[in-house]
Symmetry: C2
Subunit: 332 residues, 2 copies
Amino acid sequence: MTTIRDIARAAGVSVSTASLAVNGDPRVRPATRAKIEAVAASLDYHPSHVARSLSQGRTWSIQLLNPIEKTMSSGFFTRFVAGLHDGANLHATGVTLAAPSNAEGARTTLERMIRERRADGVVFMNVQPDDPLLDVALNHAYPHVLVGSAVRPDVVTVDSDNHLVALDVTRALLARGSRSILFLNGPEALGFTTARANGFLEAHAELGVEPHPDAVAYTDGTAAEGQRALAERLDAGVPIDAVIAISDFVAVAAMQILRKRGLAIPEDVRVYGINDDDVGRYSVPMLSTVDLRAYELGRTAADLLMNQVEENDTHPARRIVGHRLIERESSA
Amino acid sequence: MTTIRDIARAAGVSVSTASLAVNGDPRVRPATRAKIEAVAASLDYHPSHVARSLSQGRTWSIQLLNPIEKTMSSGFFTRFVAGLHDGANLHATGVTLAAPSNAEGARTTLERMIRERRADGVVFMNVQPDDPLLDVALNHAYPHVLVGSAVRPDVVTVDSDNHLVALDVTRALLARGSRSILFLNGPEALGFTTARANGFLEAHAELGVEPHPDAVAYTDGTAAEGQRALAERLDAGVPIDAVIAISDFVAVAAMQILRKRGLAIPEDVRVYGINDDDVGRYSVPMLSTVDLRAYELGRTAADLLMNQVEENDTHPARRIVGHRLIERESSA
DNA sequence: TTGTACGCGTTATCAT
DNA sequence: ATGATAACGCGTACAA
């Protein structure tokens, strides 16, 4: 294994000169630089990543902390990761994954990461707005980005405009004539769900439409619970001529229930999902949905994080990434 | 930030003793050990990860190299990652992700990783059996695991028994009475697809059934191409009373086409997917599929890799993870 | 422009 | 049982 000392020796210069040349420092004479580079190439020299990390106090890697393994299977998550990955790579830093199975595991993982300096920063995903994890990062002045919205204003976040997302979808449905819309929402604790609920209600208020008192169903976000909430209301005789679901999976699962009850989509019930997962692209009928630009969210998270790491820019930022309605068959 | 020197000083011992105590070496007297541990705790000492890496020549992290970003969105991938993650964590090592967008990027990523010693090993995913990437790892005697099958016998692999998977599914369909089965296969270059094709054919041979000459369709594995291949044969009048798809997404996409042509599932056409993705759990009808035990595959990959890293056990291993048919509505 | 010397934090070797 | 010291490989003041 060839070190920078080997290069220096072989090129007949000192280690520091070799180091300068290798790192493209301008104050080394072109001739010696060429000599050194030639030697480095011929000896297949590549600087050790850890050694560099130690001396610079930087690991060149960030960590994605996602306590809820379940949600990994969505296309949203993977597109987000792709964006994060690409964004980090622009700064020559890698992405490492942590998927602790419970809250305690998440905490110890984060604390170890910070104190052992395993990563330069952390991206929180599927974490509640007031999660103690955020305080841990804040207390250590550790670079971080939360995907979603936070209670404390000093947390750096990137998010969709969830109020507007729900507003847009609900408006679209109301404009088509739907008057009994069921909103299969996610867990209330996650924060962005209440923003969506508000958007849902505001759209109704705009038109003076009174939503059914049971129109917003908070569930755990799984398809099974979404199905249960829908079936429950159907059984209770709650009028439903449209469904907005927290995710495309829940939407498709809801369509399954509707179909079994002999309800036609979109004729009897219009359906809208959120996320633009592949699942809605191949459902029958094809699912209308909202593209949350997951890749863009990931890229933005990387930008915000790398900025803290490199510029030491610690003042809180909150960035919003735009969304886009995708009208397909299920809401015609 | 507190280093081991601080501990040593505060405890009134030498650095080496402090190090031994912290690492639980038995040859330090209980009394001094207690003293040192108390000091370490009170100073909130945690050893630096990079420093340890430098001194030990080990990064305590492995890399997952997945050149094909597209395939990340499947539940298969995410369950695999979860298994890999958990398996690696048992050895206190993390998982970092690399998703280069093309073959060249993959090669440079791998070469840098090896030469800069960024990771202790690599897991190859969605890589062809004869991919030059494998030679790179082999030439550097770099710990590695390929998910799938390889041409060179010295590549360490973990895989499903793809021959048997196809055999099992085809047998099940033939047993139900299907006689004109279309196999919407993946890209031929990926290797495991031909194993599956063979299993498909063998099941036919067992019963003396002659498959249609166009019964095996090699596609790029996307839903769109699967749909195209199916529609093409339907248009050409190829008889089809069952479809086996390379993935659940392709299966669901195929059902979409069949439905549009007025074909009932499973009455007119039985459908089988592979992977056990969520998408098939909420389709109408619910999709029969094969559980490839993705989590288990990930765990096994981690085991094989960590074994090479820690035991320096380099002799080639090939491990097979069992699968399981899941009968749902689409193949009744 | 180049070289010397030291720090980064840890573990390992070799004395004592 | 404990301590001094040398690696590990790199970057970088500081000096020349």
